[in-house]
């Protein structure tokens, strides 16, 4: 079985949980549809764009119970096994920007990588990435901290040259 391809709409474990709930509600719909008498009007649940895109990307027929079950299992596996990073930005991340970052991570690091996005205004700019065992401070604050000697030299030049 091919590994599940996650779409950029699916960012975090919360998204996976939501997709699982959607699949559950879809299952419930089909169970209730079977129980209803034929010809009675029913309204199918509205699927999210993320689930539709996921189903399309992975060629999953959501009308098929087995396919849904397989998808649910794969989502649970991803939830359990996929690397889950935490990334913080200085400002609220726009979906488009976040998608670019996520795409890069899934291409470069792991295809099923999940991100938990946070907000940390004190970092000024850039991001702070917390992986399983490490923290990668890629913020402007860290950059400034690493450049203290240069800053000190600049200030010293300014003071000496007065």
């Amino acid at each position: 079985m091919a590994p599940l391809k996650l779409t950029p709409d699916i960012v975090s474990q919360a998204d996976l949980t939501r997709l699982n709930r959607e699949l559950d509600s879809l299952d419930d719909f089909f169970v209730s549809a079977k129980a209803r008498p034929a010809g009675s009007p029913i309204a199918p649940p509205k699927l999210s764009r993320a689930l539709e895109a996921l189903a399309k990307e992975n060629a999953v027929n959501l009308l098929d119970e087995k396919n849904r079950q397989t998808l649910a299992d794969q989502l649970a596996a991803v939830y359990k096994e996929a690397p889950n990073f935490h990334i913080s930005f200085a400002v609220e991340a726009s979906p488009k920007s976040l998608e670019r970052i996520l795409v890069w991570m899934r291409q470069s690091v792991h295809p099923q990588l999940l991100l938990q996005v946070g907000l940390q205004p004190t970092i000024a700019a850039g991001c702070v990435l917390r992986t399983t065992n490490k923290v990668f401070d890629m913020s402007l604050r860290a950059r400034l901290n690493s450049q203290t000697e240069y800053l000190a030299a600049l200030i010293k030049e300014s003071v000496d040259g007065r």
Binding site: S94, S97, S108, V109, G126, T131, M138, L140, L151
Partner: protein
Amino acid sequence: MNTGGLILIVGSLAAAAAAFIWLAFKIQNGPPAKGRKELIADAAAEDVEHIFNDDFREELRNRGRLHFEKVINDNAVFLQQDLRNTTTQLNEYMRSEITRTLQEEFKKYEQSINDAKQLAMESIQKTVATIEQQRQFLEQQIKAQSTAQEERIVARFEAEMAGIFNHYIVKAIGNQIDLSDQLDFILGELEANKQAILEDIKHGAS
């Protein structure tokens, strides 16, 4: 005593002797109505009374008084001279003694002053040396403290500098920089740390 007086006295004595001799000679050749010795004694007494009469005695007394006064005056002059000489010598002696004593006392006083001065100088020199040592010690301490304080301030400034700039940047630009503006920077940083991230995933949860 002048020469006239002396001649008068000598003349008187010579006349008395001549009269005595004449009388003795006459008694030896005359009738011995009385005893010879008695006659001589009577004649001598009469001549003595005749020669040394009251005027003569008064004259002799006056002359003796004058002579005594003269001797007294002469001795008084000598005594006065001696007294003057003695007074002068005594003055000289007293002066020299007083001068010598004063000089000795002054020398002692000067010596005492010099000793006191020397002691004071030594004491002042010691005090100055001690003060100088204290000053140098204080100077070193102040320099060390100043340097340490300066180093502390610089170190603290350097430690806080990045934070200060960061705070300033956050305050200055805040939310003005959108994440899309930072994407190139973030992706560049991710790319730079890509290997480390992959290594971390490979090792899994620790």
